[in-house]
């Protein structure tokens, strides 16, 4: 059996800081299950570089989460698979549990329809309250790119929320 003390250290770290990171991962992916998968993927990378990380595993893990999410992690799989359901859903068409989560808040349902990078910027700016410069640093892009992504992301949310209002009202009437 492999002998890796880093796992025990990592468990200790997660006991203290895991929950906020998992919340971020859930918002970046749109569901608890996918959030846990994303965090696990980030932890795998963290473990790979554990011995080389100097003092701030949380910062490394946070950057990894954002970059995995912004790069469209798993988007060819669960993410893209979910979008048609979200766009065409009725009250009875979703049988995989997605609806149960998504109907909890219409804005979150719209958030998951944004492009991965836009969504990552929105989460960083309005969930983690990072500045534009901090967001740029986390995502490894320019401040201008962050501004553009945030602006387009918010605009898209406005557009989607405008068109979704009628759908929401229709869903509420569906038995």
């Amino acid at each position: 059996m492999a002998h890796n003390p880093a796992v025990a250290d990592l468990e200790s770290f997660l006991a203290e800081r895991g929950e906020p990171l998992l919340r971020t991962a859930v918002l970046l992916t749109g569901s608890k299950e996918a959030g846990e998968d994303l965090l696990q993927a980030g932890l795998e990378r963290l473990l790979r570089h554990w011995s080389a990380i100097d003092g701030d595993p949380e910062g490394y893990l946070r950057r990894t989460l954002y970059n995995l999410a912004a790069d469209g992690w798993r988007r060819q799989r669960a993410w893209r698979r979910r979008l048609p359901l979200l766009q065409n859903e009725t009250a009875t068409t979703v049988a995989d549990g997605t609806r149960e989560v998504d109907t909890r808040d219409a804005l979150i349902r719209l958030l998951v329809q944004l492009a991965p990078r836009q969504r990552a910027v929105i989460v960083a700016r309005y969930w983690e309250q990072l500045s534009e410069a901090e967001t740029a640093m986390v995502l490894g892009c320019s401040v201008g790119s962050v501004k553009a992504s945030a602006s387009r992301g918010l605009q898209r949310l406005r557009e989607l929320s405008g068109t979704s209002t009628e759908n929401d009202l229709a869903e509420e009437k569906t038995p």
Partner: protein, 309 residues
């Protein structure tokens, strides 16, 4: 500047994640996934049984299969992971070449008395002359020394043992009566190898001739334990492992997985053992030798006198 949409978004995110909780064992899952191999929830039987040296230091552990069914499988797997590493560390050849050093402290009123060639009786007897506050225990390659002290640090007795392939020789020095006696056991059965032959009886006892490593391995093999987080012990962020009955608590080093501390509470006796695993330097080996102080009188082993008298 915050717009209404941004505020709504923030509120939605807060609500959406309000019941998100960290699942246990995610680091282990990540590790296992990275290693691309599966690990069973049960610890392989890696320990070798204690030898049949007579007598015991009366530390008992509950018997039973390791790992609870149901409950939290991830936590169980993590516990299995940690415990298996402890087993591995204690059974490693590198560990066998270290000097096992431990200091055990007892609750007030505890008596520790030499009995037989290589046994100690530990009991709660406030009126006994064998009041013991602490024991210093050293082991290396079949040689051992147990030194008992009062709570104020005065020596009570020394017990030196040398374990052969089928025999054991010992010397006990009694500081209370200024006497000493040699003793021995012959015809010991061979040490059983690892595997299902290792005995998990209703009470697991530490054999004086073998030491802590085997005792702890057997405890972990036969008892039911759970990892209960971390705790700082003398600068070590130690992993805490608690028995189901809460009669034994281990702390192990997250780097070497060797035990750092063991606390047992049983039969009215609470004892704490702190472990060190030392290189076999001349300085570390020298205390293994028991020397009879000048003027001490050799006597027959007291238990023989008790048996015949």
């Amino acid at each position: 500047m915050s717009t209404e949409l941004e505020q709504q978004l923030r509120g939605a995110m807060e609500r959406f994640t309000s019941d998100v909780r960290m699942p246990p064992g995610l680091a282990l899952k990540a590790y296992r996934h990275r290693q691309k191999r599966r690990m069973t929830g049960r610890v392989a039987a890696a320990g070798c049984a204690a030898t049949a040296v007579a007598g015991s230091l009366a530390i008992a552990g509950a018997a039973g299969a390791f790992g609870s069914a149901g409950g939290q499988p991830v936590q169980t797997a993590y516990t299995a992971y940690v415990v298996s590493h402890v087993q591995h560390a204690l059974g490693a050849r590198s560990q066998a070449n270290l000097v096992q050093s431990s200091r055990t402290t007892f609750s007030a009123g505890t008596a520790v008395q030499p009995y037989g060639a290589a046994s100690l009786q530990v009991s709660s007897r406030p009126g006994s002359p064998w009041q013991t506050g602490s024991l210093q225990d050293l082991r290396y390659h079949g040689r051992g020394r147990v030194s008992a002290f009062t709570a104020s640090g005065q020596p009570v007795f020394d017990l030196g043992t040398t374990l052969g392939s089928s025999s054991l020789a010992s010397v006990t020095v009694d500081y209370l009566n200024r006497t000493w006696w040699p003793a021995g056991i012959s015809g010991l059965p061979p040490r059983p190898g690892p595997g299902p032959g290792a005995s998990c009886g209703p009470q697991i006892q530490m054999r004086v001739g073998t030491g802590w490593a085997e005792f702890i391995r057997l405890q972990l093999k036969c008892g039911e334990f759970t990892v209960a987080g971390r705790q700082q012990l003398d600068g070590v962020n130690a992993i805490k492992i608690v028995s189901k009955q809460r009669t034994e608590t281990f702390w192990v080093s997250p780097k070497s997985y060797l035990p750092v501390r063991l606390i047992t509470s049983l039969g009215g006796v609470r004892q704490q053992s702190d472990f060190r695993w030392l290189a076999p330097t001349p300085a570390n080996l020298a205390p293994l030798k028991v020397t009879v102080p000048a003027g001490f009188k050799q006597v027959p082993p007291p238990w023989q006198k008790a048996a015949t008298g």
